[in-house]
Symmetry: C2
Subunit: 433 residues, 2 copies
Amino acid sequence: MNIPQTSLPRVVIVGGGFAGLALAKGLENKEVQVVLLDKHNYHTFQPLLYQVATGGLEPDSIAFPIRKLFNNLKYYHFRLAEVLEVCADKNEIKTTIGDLAYDYLVLATGSKTNFFGNKAIEKHAMEMKTIPQSLNIRSLVLENFEAALLTSNFEERKALMNFIIVGGGPTGVELAGALAEMKKGILPKDYPDLDIREMQINLVQGSGKLLDAMSADASKKAEQFLCKLGVHVWKNIHVTNYDGNLVTTNTNKEFRAATVIWAAGVQGETVGGLEKQCIVERANRIRVDAYNRVVGYDTIFAIGDVASMVSEEVPLGHPMMAQPAMQQGTLLAKNIVALIKDKPLKAFQYHDKGSMATIGRNKAVVDLPKWKFQGIFAWFVWMFVHLFSLIGFRNRAIVFLNWVYNYIRFDRETRLIIRPFKNKNNQSFQSKA
Amino acid sequence: MNIPQTSLPRVVIVGGGFAGLALAKGLENKEVQVVLLDKHNYHTFQPLLYQVATGGLEPDSIAFPIRKLFNNLKYYHFRLAEVLEVCADKNEIKTTIGDLAYDYLVLATGSKTNFFGNKAIEKHAMEMKTIPQSLNIRSLVLENFEAALLTSNFEERKALMNFIIVGGGPTGVELAGALAEMKKGILPKDYPDLDIREMQINLVQGSGKLLDAMSADASKKAEQFLCKLGVHVWKNIHVTNYDGNLVTTNTNKEFRAATVIWAAGVQGETVGGLEKQCIVERANRIRVDAYNRVVGYDTIFAIGDVASMVSEEVPLGHPMMAQPAMQQGTLLAKNIVALIKDKPLKAFQYHDKGSMATIGRNKAVVDLPKWKFQGIFAWFVWMFVHLFSLIGFRNRAIVFLNWVYNYIRFDRETRLIIRPFKNKNNQSFQSKA
């Protein structure tokens, strides 16, 4: 793949998410050659994907071209590629664009949707882990409303206007809230010929509380906020199947719906060739030691969602979120430099800065280590934290402008079907095939 | 398609472009029911498509959701549909979502790319009349650069970095200028491993001057601007074929190129069923009388690009541009109201407000009826005219923000391959199939 040979040790980073970029940033101007591979030519700011899916933000404002980040660095090389296999015995990886030797390999491949083996759900439900997937949801929601206008069959129309979100974590909660705001402010104006009361938003959570990983106060308040917005929250229910029309659960409850969005689980995006020696744990994550080294290998590391660093304190590993990913990337940069210089490594210690979720206009929940709060102030905190976490001045400015506009005007203007999701000839329910 | 029956006369408008929207706007609060059909749920601001194709603007900032335009109007109905056939004898149209009766039918279907019957070019060349097409160009340009990095074959690399734009009208000129600015400011930084001098931008024009419809001064200056930016301008050359690799012309000149963008002609987007009586003229436009009535019919009208209104003054009809389209739409609204009230109609008179094209940073050409000027002031005029012609405050604000950012930073940040254009397994040249 035409990467120049140098006398510097080569660090190959697979994945330009939060973990991979933090690592690459940390290695700037160090005595290494960095090769960053990603299957997209941009970094995705995943926490705001739900706003793309619901017409509040343009996709381009939460994406940042990776090449621009390393414009002025001499020993940095980006390649648009997917890794097919790691050949650890040869210190080499096979990719879609050829083979590449490494001195240090870092898997920062992130995670993908976990359907827990259910093929029917995988085929018919929507996922929201990438920008194209979010745009598919945006198209489908609007296409379903267009289709609902055309049918005189009450049952069919109700199914077209019934949205089932499976999973009550931050993604599910934020998406349900955003859909509820579309229902309130936009859809009745855009579709005056429809009875908006027929639109239902159902949030189905397997456990007994929403936002499982957050405080009891946050869970309770999030549920209150959602109910106030008209979202039906179903707890202690597991979705067992979806055939593109009927959602069945482990209880008597069933839903007839044209749209199911699956936010009920993620799993590590592992890479072939490691299975021989490494330990793959719960949620398909690769076991690493306290230095993010993949157990069983000397020069292969894993950081972020794909890495499982278990200890007595965190028996299930760190949460699959941006914070631990970035912290691991930053530390690993230092540790790789230390390794090269034969200096001692530093063990990873996670600093939990807290977590938060937004439900809608003036409604958010924030858990800080020493302070938990909800409501309008939490919402401002949520906004500023997300705004300043975005990469790039232009993206920040455009997201800010959209938010101010949407807030003042109660609007979400990017409700555009740029690439239709449904088959043109299939006016009934969708399939992802 | 579930359009309510009323006692008002029903005006069916096909197409939500400049012409269709001007008409719909003009019929607001008049004693008619308006049904607007479009195959997209948004209006496209076509003059800025080339900026989407070259990473300067996000697609969502030049699109506007049609439904929002008519949010508060009672007798307005929008449907996402394509018209298949006009059944004039029954005053009815057949569409992809069912049949619809009309009292007045207005075709504002616009235009599509004209390949003049060349199937090979149609298959392999890119077009730029819609947002998805512009996004395809954006993806392809970047994908070709990624591919150029990977090959050691000089000829192949040169072809991947060779961009042929066919047609020296405003679209071709603006696109060539924008690509030249990418070559200058962005690509050398993003692809330091490539020798940017291998990138070529060729603009091929059939006639003896660029911007044929503009003044001699504008043509000359545009060519100077382009040459200064490093664009190769070829005049009096007709492209005769393109097989995905080799561009042949009516001269000895040939180009080996992975990307050909066809901006050499447009043709009216006509609708089936009218052929029986109407007259289809040059560039597939439908002959209309001075009131935009389709010749041969009483209650069918055509406006904008698809309409050919010839007279002694304009033997070839009005130019296929936004200005005549909007003026025809606005007048037809008044004429339809007059028709209903049995009042006399007013014949269309085109007021040419001038035309303009931008070549790049500080470089534009403007022809006003009484004043022609070029350079930095022309460029400011171009920007403000386009900014204020955009629909929607949010779009204007976001385009403005992008332009200021791009100007200050010499940047174009939306260089994102969101939907790859090339077949993943085909690292050689593209096909649109």
